[in-house]
């Protein structure tokens, strides 16, 4: 079970990243759970300032940009 967290205050880019992540996770065929972290103080705890960001199992992988689904797939597969 992978825990995929989208860190972002809810702007358009964060929604896009969430959608891309979902698509990537489905394609990768892994078991997953998506959580959206929208509280700014929570986001800070990950050390992230440029939203949106993607964390896999609590580890921040991408900061400040929306990756296309293919690249996210590579990140979450291993």
């Amino acid at each position: 079970m992978k825990k995929l967290q989208i860190l972002g205050t809810g702007c358009a880019k964060c929604i896009k990243l969430a959608a891309n992540t979902e698509e990537a996770a489905k394609k990768a065929g892994i078991e997953y759970e998506i959580e959206k972290v929208t509280d700014i103080n929570q986001i800070m705890k990950y050390g992230v300032m440029m939203t949106p960001a993607l964390a896999v199992d609590g580890k921040v992988k991408v900061v400040g940009k929306v990756l296309p689904p293919a690249e996210i797939e590579a990140l979450i597969k291993d």
């Binding site: 358009a12 700014i40 103080n41 990950y46 300032m49 921040v60 991408v62 400040g64």
Partner: protein, 432 residues
């Protein structure tokens, strides 16, 4: 019947019915206001979209992709020199953020993990006011004077407000107990001079395409005006050469786009917008079909367009409906506006600052709203006061700020913003 779900429909339908039932159609003021909204939207579409907004989106997109935000954030990190941190914080809004939703996390980060309260507040204040799109649109629609005053005012006062906040809370231990700042991976940067030339070419296209007709029929400025399309075309050609040389865009593609653009420009010499539009489409084609950086640039620009255009159009319609075009009246009588914020009294400046501070302006909509207000008799000073207090704070973002720095500091901050905006509006109104 399941009333738990159905009541939403009921309220919605009943609401729509009541609005239509009492719709004040036929009352001249209302009818006229609807027309004003449409007129204003039309004039924006005709005058500002192709020549101003489209290139501005490309510039904003390029900033996001080609300038390294990480370099900037290093100056705002925990070990940064304080003097430098204030300086960088006050101007970095230009390249770091376009909407307030990116400002807030950065602000919280600079406060918690970085340089502390002062620089964080400086950034919070100047960020929304000096982003590229806001400055370009302000200068274009409200006049170059106000555009510059907005940028300069935001930079100067952000430092002052940051310093005061730091001074007031100097005895508190400052943040820095959080985790290390996470920055995105280092992007392969090209040399500074290449970046400068590349941005200069884009800015030249934007500036010269929008060059206004000067009063005099002779002299240097008129010469620039007369040859503005030649200069614009030359800048665009320069941009094309750079795309081939530094960004690995195939020569054939660029030449083809340049050729088609030239043909259209020459075929419609009296409506330069046609040629310009073909050029923009060509650039979109070049960037969107190229893997990597170029595609990121396009999708960044396109992202801004999607984010900003709908809100801006809606904002223009509403502003036109409420306040009318400059010189015309919308639903709100001009007398009200000019009695509240006309002239340049301290009171007018104060009202404008307070209104600006609490009102929420979606990205860039402050510009058409202000245009309407100024058309209805708002003074120049209060206009600047509203621009300085407006985008930086609003009721929703005060709540977020409060959750980061606490109630006391938030109140001090908002008070400082209102006082500063009032004073700077008053000074500006007195001088100009």
């Amino acid at each position: 019947m399941n009333w738990k779900d159905e009541w939403k429909w009921l309220t919605g339908l009943a609401g729509a019915f009541l609005v239509l039932f009492y719709l004040p159609v036929g009352i001249p003021r209302f009818n006229n206001a609807v027309l004003e909204g449409l007129y204003l939207a039309k004039s924006y579409a005709q005058e500002h979209v192709i020549l101003c907004l489209l290139p501005a989106f490309f510039i904003a997109g390029a900033i996001g992709v080609f300038l390294s935000q990480n370099t900037v954030m290093k100056y705002l990190g925990a070990d940064a020199k304080k003097v430098l941190a204030y300086g960088v914080a006050s101007v970095s809004g230009t390249i770091l953020a376009v909407c307030s939703c990116t400002i807030l996390p950065l602000f919280a980060g600079i406060y918690r993990m970085g340089a502390g309260l002062g620089p964080a507040v400086a950034f919070l204040y100047s960020g929304p006011a000096i982003n590229v799109l806001a400055i370009i649109l302000t200068a274009r629609i409200l006049g170059i004077e106000l555009g510059i005053a907005r940028a300069v005012g935001a930079i100067v006062f952000s430092v002052v407000i940051g310093l005061i906040m730091h001074f007031v809370y100097r005895h508190e231990r400052q943040g820095q107990d959080g985790p290390q700042m996470m920055l995105g991976g280092d992007d392969g940067m090209r040399p500074l001079w290449q970046n400068i030339l590349y941005f200069a070419a884009m800015i030249a296209v934007l500036v010269f395409a929008n060059w206004g007709r000067p009063q005099a029929e002779t002299g240097f400025w008129h010469l620039v005006y007369a040859s503005k399309w030649i200069i614009t075309a030359a800048s665009a050609a320069g941009l094309g050469v750079m795309l081939v040389a530094w960004f690995a865009v195939p020569v054939l593609k660029v030449v083809a786009v340049a050729a088609i653009t030239t043909v259209f420009s020459l075929a419609f010499p009296h409506t330069p917008m046609v040629g310009f539009m073909v050029g923009v489409i060509g650039l979109s084609f070049l960037t969107s079909t190229q893997e990597g950086e170029m595609q990121e640039w396009f999708s960044g620009s396109w992202g801004f367009a999607k984010q900003i255009m709908p809100i801006l159009f809606a904002g223009v319609l509403v502003a036109g409906f409420l306040l009318g075009r400059p010189g015309h009246e919308g639903v709100i009588p001009s007398v009200w506006v000019s009695s509240l914020v006309g002239g340049n009294s301290l009171f007018a400046n104060f009202i404008a600052s307070v209104a600006g501070a609490f009102m929420y302006f979606a990205t860039l909509t402050e510009v058409p709203i202000l245009q309407g207000l100024m058309g209805s008799g708002m003074g120049k000073g209060p206009a600047l006061a509203l621009l300085l207090a407006g985008p930086a704070v609003s009721l929703p973002n005060m709540l977020v700020i409060r959750s980061v720095i606490g109630t006391g500091k938030t109140v001090v901050y908002v008070t400082l913003v209102i006082v500063m905006a009032t004073i700077s509006g008053f000074l500006y109104g007195t001088v100009f």
